[in-house]
Amino acid sequence: MAAETGTPTTLTLKSNDDELFSVAESAAILSVTIRNMVEDGCAGGVIPLDNVDGKTLASVITYMNGISAIPADEEKKKSYRDKFLSDKDFETLADMVLAANYLNMSCLMDAVSAKIAQVMEKKSVGWVRRKFGIENDYTPEEEAAVKEEHKWTFEGVETDDDN
């Protein structure tokens, strides 16, 4: 393994739209997927990440560098994560959670999922359907019955055309 030479090693990651990124190995191995590749000795050349686009990968690498620079202090790491995710829109968060799953980064996945849940918390049923592209397979009667059953959960929801 290259780390044994004592000099910091950089890995080259390639997104699915052929963008190349250099990242320190010590930061990149936050991803279990990449760590396994490094341990298996197959991280020598360019590491292709077929499921992550360039924009998302850039964000993930920013996170990798940021979080690995923080020593073992869970409080500081948490506040870094909060700050890092605070300005991301829903689409970016959604891409990031999929990338985190693909790269097997549990800490990022947990943080992004929590942020997504926080965004979804106040959103209407219609908003979730639109954002996730989910078809409503309830009959109107069934939907009315379900909503009636959980009427209390609709308090404080952001108003929408199709609540």
């Binding site: 959604a94 891409d95 799953n101 996730f132 592209g133 078809e135 209390w152």
Partner: protein, 348 residues
């Protein structure tokens, strides 16, 4: 001999391959390794590396589209390619309200949102401190009987034999349809909603609040309580006592409530199994009531020394006296209790 063993191991694989394929493969692998190390290191290592490449699975679905790209023309739902783990992780982070509402999005999501494991955490964190396991057991029993009742009542609503038959068929259909939309009556989600909606009255103990006096505040009474979501407090119904009928107190705050520690009725003395182990300084709770017409309350106290003992740890034999051990209820000096064998008497 070695050759014989190798053949044996292969014949094992042949015989048991459908059932024990994995274990046997592992066994034969170990076998190969040990042989490799002793005899044929060079040759076999070549073969093993060729034949058994180290397998690291990068468990990743091959998705050839940008995530959450719902404007790409086709009508494929995100749910179709969103890994279950990701969706589960998001659902786990949703608070109860959000989880219920997600269930209103579609039937397939509904199926995931009613899962017991998602709700267990919510039940534990919100209700764990105030609801006892006996309350849950009781609710489960009544949930089962309610389920039976609803089918029964559906049926007897119709007239005559034919009516019964139609109602039977209809109730079957209804219950099938309901199962799809509503969580099962005995699910953890139903349990959470029963508590949250305030429809359920459950047994709990309510701490006294008399004038903020610590001696009283550390005592509590059995009651049945129901949650009031709007005020985030509870209604408490106390059993009838003395000449009073059962009283209801409103606005009981969370900090005044706890789950009953024992299942004993407030009208019975709890038979404790640890009276003989008590030592001076132990913190205990004892039952006390004004007279027979009142239910017992639970009072906090500290076990004290006998009057003949000066409290010196080297000479104290209070716990050996067996029969008589005074107990001073915290800051409530007129009460002194005595333990006689298994029974607890209060001298007031």
């Amino acid at each position: 001999m070695l050759l014989f063993l190798i053949t044996c191991s292969f014949s094992f694989i042949l015989f048991y391959s459908p059932l024990f394929a994995c274990e046997m493969r592992l066994l034969s692998l170990c076998f190969w390794k040990s042989i490799k190390n002793t005899l044929f290191s060079a040759t076999l290592s070549f073969f093993t590396t060729r034949m058994l490449p180290s397998k690291k699975i990068y468990a990743v679905p091959k998705v050839q589209r940008t995530a959450f790209d719902t404007n790409s023309g086709d009508q494929m739902s995100v749910l179709d390619y969103l890994p279950d783990l990701v969706l589960e992780t998001i659902l786990e982070k949703l608070p109860p309200k959000g989880l219920c509402r997600m269930g209103c999005v579609s039937k397939s999501l509904r199926g995931m949102c009613v899962s017991d494991h998602l709700w267990e955490r919510h039940v534990r964190s919100k209700w764990g401190r105030v609801v006892g396991t006996s309350a849950y057991r009781e609710w489960l029993c009544s949930a089962h009987s309610r389920n039976q009742d609803s089918i029964f009542f559906d049926r007897i609503g119709e007239k005559g034999f034919l009516g019964c038959l139609i109602a039977l068929v209809r109730s079957r259909f209804c219950s099938v349809g309901k199962d799809k939309i509503f969580p099962p009556v005995n699910s953890v989600m139903s349990w959470y909603i029963a508590l949250e909606s305030g429809k359920l009255w459950f047994p709990a103990q309510v701490y006294n609040r008399e004038n903020g006096h610590v001696g009283f505040m550390l005592s509590c009474y059995d009651a049945v309580v129901s949650y009031d979501r709007r005020t985030d407090t509870f209604l408490a119904r106390y059993p009838a006592h003395g000449t009073r009928t059962s009283a209801i107190e409103s606005g009981v705050t969370w900090d005044r409530l706890r789950a009953p520690l024992v299942d004993t009725s407030p009208h019975d003395l709890h038979i404790s199994d640890c009276l003989n182990e008590l030592r001076p300084g132990d913190q205990i709770e004892i039952q006390w009531r004004r007279n027979k017409e009142f239910p017992y309350g639970w009072w906090y106290g500290v076990v004290g020394h006998l009057e003949t003992c000066d409290g010196n740890a080297n000479y104290c034999r209070c716990h050996h006296s067996g029969e008589l051990l005074p107990c001073f209820l915290s800051l409530h000096k007129i009460k002194i209790s005595y333990f006689f064998g298994d029974h607890l008497l209060i001298n007031s």
